[in-house]
């Protein structure tokens, strides 16, 4: 922005005085007005419906607001209560979210890479079929497949998993997977992993196909002797940009995981996940809004969630982001 003030005055290099003279910001903006027209439609809706809610969340988090009476400014009290009084948050939502994210994020990401890599090793004509098989579940993410999981994890011996475990003699009693605090979270993690091969997986797979095969030949001349070395020295550096893109996508997808908990809850007719074992931050936010109408408080929780997502994404940029020489 400071360019606007300084550019026309300061012209240190001799050629700047000629026709190449640096134009003022305003002139350059006027000349490119059509570029602004092209970005305008997107940026208008983007500002209102993406940036807007985030700004509103930041603002509301400082208020006490029940959606009926006028909002009352209370400073950071909401955040104070989150960390000192909210037992559900401290005992369940926060640790659960961490546990869920730490497992689903990295494991799902590694699965994406491993499967993309394995599929890429196949001859070209087979790849499409496997891509489809692996990508299918992520397409189902938006669809309520509650019935599948109810039958698969049913608590009596009619459940597929229970009947299988009973048959091979691992257990003597059927396990109430969907009603026990001990297993509920694992069911959620299992389902998340099942559907984690989404757009990030496609990006990795497509990235692998862009790697110049001569690199591998050159590598084997230079003494790379096995596939693991190949992956480490050639594959990963070559598709680092795609890895970063999928990392961002997988962070976002991971934090959406709370939906699975509420889906299982609704499908089994429970009011809460067993012993709050499946309560994630997203679900906690929803509860405060829908059940208690504490809009300010739930906004403060949203801000925390945003901070967590931001931190995780920063971390993926740290791992895969552009390094100095690029």
């Amino acid at each position: 922005m400071s360019q606007a003030a300084t550019a026309p005055v300061v012209s240190p290099s001799p050629q700047a005085a000629g026709p190449l003279k640096r134009k003022s910001l305003w002139v350059r903006m006027r000349e490119n007005y059509s570029a602004y027209l092209f970005v305008a439609p997107f940026f208008i809706v983007f500002t209102i419906y993406v940036v807007g809610p985030i700004v509103v969340a930041l603002g509301l988090s400082l208020f006490s607001y029940d959606a009926v009476s006028a909002p009352k400014f209370i400073g950071f009290s909401n955040f104070m209560s989150i960390f000192t009084e909210d037992r559900l948050f401290l005992r369940h939502a926060l640790p659960n979210t961490f546990f869920f994210a730490v497992i689903v994020g990295p494991v799902g990401y590694l699965l994406c890479f491993a499967l993309a890599w394995l599929i890429h090793q196949l001859p070209k004509k087979y790849r499409d079929y496997f891509t489809l098989l692996i990508y299918f579940p992520s397409m189902a993410a938006g669809v309520n497949l509650g019935i599948v999981w109810i039958v698969l994890f049913a608590s009596d011996k009619t459940g597929y998993l229970n009947s299988f475990l009973l048959q091979i003699g691992l257990i003597d009693q059927p396990i109430p997977f969907l009603y026990s605090a001990q297993y509920f979270m694992w069911v959620m993690i299992f389902i998340s992993l099942w559907q984690s091969m989404g757009i990030g997986f496609l990006a990795m797979l497509a990235g692998l196909q862009t790697i110049n095969t001569e690199l591998y030949e050159a590598g084997s001349v230079d003494g790379i002797s096995n596939r693991l070395q190949e992956i480490y020295y050639i594959t990963i550096p070559s598709i680092r940009p795609q890895l970063l893109f999928s990392a961002v996508m997988s962070v976002v997808a991971t934090f959406k995981g709370g939906i699975i908990g509420s889906m299982l809850m609704a499908s089994t007719g429970q009011d809460a996940t067993p012993g709050y074992s499946g309560l994630l931050l997203t679900g906690h936010i929803d509860d405060f809004f829908k059940l208690r109408y504490e809009v300010g408080y739930s906004a403060a929780l949203s801000v925390l969630l945003l901070v967590m997502v931001l931190a995780m994404t920063r971390f993926s940029f740290f791992l895969f982001g552009p390094k100095g020489d690029e």
Partner: protein, 298 residues
């Protein structure tokens, strides 16, 4: 001799790896497919088979019964209304997202203008925001922009998809500048450049963006739940999942009549939402992979 032998051994090793890999992927792929196969079978099972003990996996006497009871359930709003709503809203969204994303991507990629780089890095940052994270503030924004209880509530909030602008921009980057310059010399105006060169050359990216939008909007339930109170304006997946969950928001309750008989109808409803996904994806799969190759964040 030695070299030939070791080369030979290497080929054997490679081959063995390939077979293991193929076998592993077949088993895993099929295992991952089981839940979907189960849903399909469940949807086509007649009621008697749903009650069988032990439960059977495959439907032995497939029937359309579950679909029929879903389509002909005696709710106030006919099923076709939800389908029409959803098809319309999805079509408008797909077209809208493609248009505004492609336009923005063109400007970001082929024009240098003050603030352009800053705006684009802002988009990269916003890749990580899922509107679901700020559902409630989003509800307030929608309420204050005065589009509650209109079809716009299904459309406007879903138009800005940063990931679409990003993917498009990466793709437009591949169009040689010389081509654009040549067209400019031939007297093409800005809009002509966009519609005659950029859009036709970005078809793979456009297909991908279309699919991503489709996958977001088609199964959308949030806008029907929060942004509208008018039953006749709600969308398909909201309707079928309200049947499944038996929440009292809709007048029909086929799903809650009986939990076992209900599963057949639930499966049918899941399929109705899921099948269009699969068809669209199958149709454009190649183009999606072509686009994703350029998806890297550099």
């Amino acid at each position: 001799m030695q070299a030939i032998l070791s080369g030979f051994r290497r080929i054997r090793k490679t081959e063995r790896f390939l077979w293991f890999n193929l076998l592993f992927l077949i088993i895993l792929g099929l295992a991952m497919f089981v839940p979907i196969l189960f849903t399909v079978n469940q949807a086509f099972k007649p009621i008697e088979e749903l009650f069988l003990l032990p439960p059977t996996f495959f439907a032995h006497h497939p029937t359309w019964f579950n679909f029929k009871s879903l389509l002909l359930s005696d709710s106030l709003i006919p099923f076709s209304r939800y389908v029409t709503n959803t098809v319309l809203v999805t079509a408008v969204n797909v077209f809208g997202v493609i248009m505004i994303s492609a336009m923005a991507a063109y400007a970001f990629s082929k024009r240098t203008f003050p603030g352009g780089r800053a705006l684009f890095s802002f988009i990269i940052v916003s890749l990580m925001f899922d509107p679901g994270q700020v559902l409630i503030p989003r509800y307030l924004v929608v309420a204050h922009t005065g589009i509650m209880d209109t079809y716009l509530a299904h459309i406007l909030p879903f138009l800005p998809m940063p990931v679409c602008v990003f993917l498009m921009k990466q793709f437009v980057d591949q169009i040689p500048n010389a081509l654009m310059d040549a067209a400019k010399i031939d007297g093409a105006k800005e809009w002509m450049l966009f519609t005659r060169i950029v859009v036709p050359m970005c078809m793979p990216a456009i297909a991908t963006v279309g699919i991503l939008t489709f996958q977001t909007v088609w199964p959308e339930t949030e806008s029907s739940r929060l942004f509208t109170q008018i039953e006749s304006q709600r969308l398909l997946n909201f309707y079928v999942s309200s049947l499944v969950n038996g929440s009292g928001t809709t007048s029909a309750s086929v799903g809650s009549v009986n939990s076992v008989a209900g599963t057949g109808i639930q499966a049918a409803s899941a399929l109705i939402v899921f099948v269009p996904f699969v068809i669209v994806f199958l149709a454009f799969q190649r183009k999606v992979l072509q686009t994703m190759a350029n998806s890297g964040i550099k």
